[in-house]
Symmetry: C2
Subunit: 201 residues, 2 copies
């Protein structure tokens, strides 16, 4: 077993290559940091992890341990093998973006959508669209009537999720959400970093 | 006021141009037909109606009368101005696709994703991805825990929704869902057509 540790800097996006059979552990080091996650097939980056396909595949809004994270061709990319957090994550919401911050009166603000594309470009990849993200540790609960509210995370420092890779080569991108105008990343509104570990098992 | 009627053939996708200020009425002629809907900005088809942005904008899973349908730049494209159905629609699920039918043992089955791209191609447009659809009249309820179940529609013949267009030129695409292996389009499992009307008001 060989472990690789990758620091995920605050307010930025990071590309993490993961191969079939490896497990990626995504660690909420500080406890209240939301991580917007995407994944692409290295062999064809138009093939991406898809929240709408994942919800259909598992018949569930938020994946649990044992569920699969499915791509836009309905092919499992990852299996969720561990989650030490309370399991509160979001698949409903778009990532924050230039458009959202402009509308909030903060044009030019760091944002997860630009983080995704900048991180991909840094790895020599380009994807002409932004898939809906898997917003890990994000606490936007929905009522039985489908009303969505916005709450700070309930995860604790060190909480993590683990996904086992089911395709030959995946490119995971994680953006440490830079939203500092709302409590999405905790009441202190202080976005911070996180960490990944890759296990060869 | 000038009305344009457009028949939406069963099992196929249809492109419907809609201009700013016009209202599109989408009619469930037979009552239990699910309609997978997309919309694109004619000026830049990479700009599309986005379910994840629409949920965020309205803080609600399923849009209601008065809500906006928002594009992937967080810009309102339509306002929902009328809904004579019980308001049961879906924004959670991917459209049916070649991949889904292959997995069900029915490769080559008509599907909404191919319908979208064939309809766009027929109008001289190409979009390199498939946005999550607005599945009008689709009845896939979710439990408070987020478990999704699959039910036949509860809409009645003639039920319709109306959207007012807020951008200069939109391209709406509607696929009359060809799923005939499950009761998604009613217990008879007989997909049928629908109709659109465009009002100059």
């Amino acid at each position: 077993m060989q472990d690789t540790a990758i620091d995920l800097p605050a307010r930025r996006g990071t590309v993490i290559p993961v191969r079939e059979g490896q497990t990626i552990r995504i660690v909420n080091v500080h406890g209240t940091q939301v991580l917007d996650c995407w994944a692409f097939d290295r062999a064809d980056p138009s093939c991406c992890m898809s929240m709408e396909h994942t919800r259909s595949y598992n018949s569930r809004i938020v994946p649990r341990v044992g569920d699969r994270l499915v791509d836009n061709r309905y092919r499992p990319m990852f299996e969720v093998v561990s989650d030490t957090s309370p399991g509160i994550h979001d698949t409903l919401m778009c990532s924050c973006s230039a458009g959202i911050y402009a509308r909030m009166g903060h044009p030019g603000h760091d944002n997860c959508e630009d983080n995704l594309h900048q991180a991909l470009a840094g790895a020599g990849l380009a994807v002409g669209f932004t898939p809906a993200p898997f917003n890990i540790f994000m606490n936007y609960p929905f009522s039985p009537e489908g009303e969505i509210s916005r709450k700070p995370p309930v995860s604790a420092p060190g909480d993590h999720v683990e996904w086992k890779c089911l395709i030959p080569e995946a490119v995971v991108v994680i953006s440490c959400c830079p939203q500092d105008l709302t409590p999405i990343n905790g009441e202190s509104m202080s976005p911070c970093g996180a960490r990944c570990l890759i296990f060869d098992r």
